[in-house]
């Protein structure tokens, strides 16, 4: 991306930068895509002025828990990024070590800065509540593979995620903690059993025991089994102990993970998340999450002040993710990542993930985003468009974009069809997902593209273009597994035999 050049002043907004203790009307000066300073200065003739008085302005928001990649991701992740006031986000578990190469190839050109919160399972999150906590799906991955990856792609990984759920004992948590220590990264743990699951031994307390200073626990206010409060509504001592040790608590609103009832009781006892995150994904963007701004509005309704909310989407996540040298503040020299927003007053309703709705008087609405000085008009509706989140296999037609595939890509598809025609697979039910088969299909995909000498991205896009109208980025082995075998083979042959579009 070309950073904006020249200088710019954002004039007259109420600036909130908790990292620098700024909470007043001030101008923000930007040059060459970086923050120059906050304050007044005589403007030169070349300086472009953007009048933003009447609005609030903060460092670009950081959402440490979204799903940009994989089975839960969006066709265009920027719709929950720069178009919603978010300039930096972390994919919370979408990729594991087995698909981080796919993640990087596919999502390297977003406008929003994307980091990976890699999942302990090599395939990453599967989006299936039945097996997300299943220790048996972790496979056997040499630690050296992780270490080598982290060395080669320094800075991409920001935490290692696991789910403290299911009836499989604390092995996964301890394994993930060990890996996080080796990689010198925070451990990031999901708490809260999925609804309809009822394990004998809850892992949430184990998560609070295992976490050390700097480790993170997400879904603080969830209302499922494994809550932070006891039956009488009192915050559990084990949660307080973790808080005292410096464990970071993250909100992670999500589609299942925020309860007004739990939030109000915990908040009244000063149990407050250090970071506010959305957990946005395909299955919650329409409701109840909608946007990070909506989640921030929920926190205002809960009783946080606006500066407290801004702190939790700027400097706090920047510290938690070791990003203070590049995000989370308006300090001179940092990238010009800026969010301009207003706080509307009216009659609003904010839903939790269950059936509870609270009336709210204030709503945070992003207006403008600057990413490295480049300007984006905020548009909360973009993320909600069905073609951004409704991942539907094009069963009754060949996606038109398949016509744009190159000769080499079509040749690859032909070879892939020939190679997998000897493999049998079936997705009989979500409960019995054959992850070994998904890994096998993925290995074959890599083997064929290796023989054909086709770059990874070209190979991935050729398969997506054969089956999907929009550019979703699902783990390739999982995508193949979810296709009905005969249909998949026929489609690959059809597309590989198509004549390319005229130049």
């Amino acid at each position: 991306m070309d950073p904006a050049t020249g200088s710019l002043v954002l004039k007259g907004a109420h600036v909130i930068d908790p990292e620098q203790g700024i909470d007043r009307v001030a101008d923000v000066h930007v040059a060459d895509g970086k923050i120059q300073f906050v304050g007044s200065r005589k403007l030169t003739a070349n300086t472009k002025v953007v009048e933003v008085s009447g609005h609030y302005l903060s460092a670009g928001w950081i959402d440490i828990h979204v799903h940009a990649y994989g089975t839960l991701g969006f066709a265009n992740p920027d719709t929950v990024g720069v178009y919603q006031g978010v300039t930096t986000f972390v994919d919370a578990g979408g990729p594991g070590i087995g698909v981080l190469d796919q993640f990087m190839e596919l999502l390297s050109d977003l406008e929003t800065t994307l980091y990976a919160g890699a999942f302990i399972r090599p395939m990453g999150l599967l989006g299936l509540n039945f097996i997300e906590g299943d220790v048996r799906t972790l496979g056997e991955v040499p630690i050296t593979r992780w270490v080598d990856f982290a060395k080669q792609h320094r800075g991409l990984l920001r935490y290692i995620k696991c789910n403290a759920i299911g009836d499989y004992g604390p092995g996964t948590l301890k394994l993930t903690k060990g890996l996080a220590e080796i990689l010198n990264l925070p451990l990031y743990m999901h708490i809260g059993e999925f609804q309809l699951q009822n394990p004998k031994h809850l892992l949430a307390p184990e998560a609070f025991r295992i976490a050390e200073s700097g480790d993170m626990i997400t879904h603080l206010y969830h209302g499922n089994l494994g809550q932070v409060i006891d039956e009488s509504g009192k915050v559990l001592p084990i949660v307080r102990d973790a808080e005292r040790r410096g464990v970071i608590f993250d909100l992670g609103f999500g589609g299942y993970n925020f309860s007004w009832n739990v939030a109000e009781k915990a908040f009244a006892q000063d149990l407050i998340p250090h970071t506010i995150s959305s957990d946005l994904q395909q299955f919650n963007v329409v409701r109840p999450v909608k946007s990070l701004a909506n989640v921030m509005s929920a926190m205002i309704r809960l009783g946080m002040t606006l500066p407290q909310v801004i702190e939790r989407v700027t400097c706090n996540p920047a510290h938690a993710l070791s990003l203070v040298d590049r995000a989370g503040s308006l300090k001179p020299g940092l990238p010009a990542d800026i969010t301009i927003f207003h706080v509307e007053t009216g009659d609003y309703e904010i839903s939790d993930c269950y059936t509870k709705v609270r009336k709210a008087e204030k709503q945070i609405i992003p207006v403008l985003t600057f990413k490295n000085g480049k300007r984006f008009e905020a548009d909360l509706a973009l993320a909600q468009e069905e073609n951004n989140w409704f991942l539907q296999i094009a069963e009754d037609h060949v996606p038109s974009r398949a016509r744009a595939l190159s000769e080499r890509q079509r040749s690859f598809l032909s070879a892939l069809a020939a190679r997998i025609s000897s493999i049998n697979w079936e997705l009989s039910s979500a409960e019995r997902l054959d992850i070994e088969k998904a890994l096998e299909l993925q290995e074959i995909f890599h083997e064929v593209r290796g023989k054909q000498g086709l770059p990874l991205k070209d190979a991935l896009l050729s398969v997506y273009a054969s089956f999907l109208d929009q550019n979703f980025t699902m783990q390739i082995g999982l995508l193949l597994l979810r296709l009905e075998r005969r249909f998949a083979l026929q489609r690959l042959r059809d597309v590989s035999g198509q004549r390319p579009m005229a130049a």
């Binding site: 609804q195 309809l196 589609g255 299942y256 991942l391 539907q392």
Partner: protein, 107 residues
């Protein structure tokens, strides 16, 4: 192969019942939806997280039904999950004879 039997949906009338409507079919709770091509039955709650299909949304020219909780979407022809592979919603054929409604499961 014996033909799947039709069951009377007691208490419902094609001309006076408001749809969507709850019904019992052979002991199972179902919801009957009115689509552009006629009535169709589905299991009462979503197989994902038990969201009620009484509030489900008909989409794609009424060929699919979407749970209001987490937008899990199913085909009304065979109940297959569209954006949730491996999940399946039970679907029922509904017919009317002299104002009385009958239902039977789809295969």
């Amino acid at each position: 192969m014996t033909e799947r039997p039709w069951h009377v949906l007691t208490g419902l009338r094609a001309d006076s019942t408001k749809f969507p409507a709850r019904a019992k079919l052979d002991g199972e709770g179902i919801v009957i939806l009115r689509t552009k091509t006629g009535l169709r039955g589905v299991q009462r709650s979503c197989p994902h997280m038990q969201g009620t299909m009484m509030n489900a949304e008909l989409i794609a020219s009424d060929t699919m039904v979407r749970c209001p909780l987490h937008v899990f979407t199913f085909k009304l022809s065979d109940g297959k999950g569209v954006n949730c592979p491996g999940f399946r919603l039970k679907v029922y054929e509904i017919k009317e004879e002299n104002g009385v409604l009958f239902g039977r499961s789809v295969s």
